[in-house]
Symmetry: C2
Subunit: 204 residues, 2 copies
């Protein structure tokens, strides 16, 4: 497994797999250990690279880490989620840019007409954009772990409230919030079961 060549790794050694997947846990409560803006930028410098549909990259990230920002955000969360985000040094709001297609000529230059396809089909635009943004949210969570942080993604919040608070022009629509930091006391409960492969995998 540890095939480290001059050209780089050809697969991820066990320690990396443990860090990102097998041993990683979703944290609910965080230590006061600070998280720097540099670490948060590092997450995005990784998460921005994996693929999206037609390279559209529709995910937008708002990092909330000041006391004032946290206060504006936490009141829109489900009550049971507020202590979690209050304990986290940073909460990332992950949102869809509903006008992501404006960037198509830049990000997908060999088919700039795709911009008009999305312009003329708002239902397709939101469905396809939400799918790619959710893919990117998956990349974001793994990237946070790669940077050494624990992530606690949550969907229990008043999305319209968060959007009115932080995205008042209506262009960005929040999809999830992700608490970020280092695990505190009782950071997580026992791991929940995963479905078996008889349920999840098929072969043809």
């Amino acid at each position: 497994m540890d095939t480290l060549s001059e050209a780089g790794l050809t697969e991820l050694p066990a320690e990396g797999r443990n860090l990102l997947f097998t041993d990683a846990r979703t944290a609910s409560f965080f230590a006061p250990t600070p998280v720097t803006d540099e670490e948060l930028s590092e997450i995005w410098d990784l998460a921005k690279w994996p693929p999206t549909q037609a390279n559209t990259q529709p995910l937008r990230v708002l990092y909330v880490r000041t006391a004032e920002g946290k206060e504006r955000l936490v009141k829109h969360l489900a009550e049971g989620n507020r202590p979690k985000s209050q304990s986290a040094p940073v909460v990332a709001v992950l949102a869809l840019d509903t006008q992501f297609h404006e960037h198509v000529p830049q990000v997908f230059p060999h088919n700039p007409g795709l911009k008009n396809v999305f312009e003329e089909n708002p239902d397709k635009r939101i469905a396809d954009g939400t799918f790619s943004a959710a893919l990117q949210a998956g990349y974001f969570i793994i990237a946070a772990r790669a940077v050494g942080l624990y992530a606690g993604p949550m969907t229990g919040f008043d999305k319209a409230g968060v959007d009115a608070e932080f995205f008042p022009d209506g262009r960005f629509k929040s999809l999830a919030v992700v608490n970020l930091g280092h695990p505190g006391e009782n950071a997580y409960r026992d791991r929940l079961p995963r479905l078996d492969t008889a349920t999840t995998l098929q072969w043809a």
Copy 2:
């Protein structure tokens, strides 16, 4: 960055970041190098762990790797995508289990009533399920890279056709197909640009 302690890595070293994110590429054309069922199982043994909403895990994976299976699949792809999947030793069909909520009592035992919430709200069930399944598709692509494979995700195919072919009872709805293997000649073109952080990141 290389803080390997007895307890494991606390962050991912540069070589691992390069493999999974920074240097990784989406492959369009693949070498004939075989991919084993063991490698495909390994992908899922990683990808099944990161979080989903209420641990619902709605993604289902069909690995198509026989000649007969490939023939049944390729005819439903957009014409421009057929040579890509024909060159790939394996194509994974990623699908949403639209009845994923049946597993809630097993996977989220402290709130089994969530099953009924999803039962009574099919629109919420499909929207929430699709979001979590897309998150898992993101985990799947990174996990494939961790196992040493290149991934080529595509959404250009006849979803109703694929579903009728492989999921005739109507329960699973395909979301994407992912070509898997080792890169062949002209496996990928020049890398497309990523949006700058002035567009993607905000701070509060």
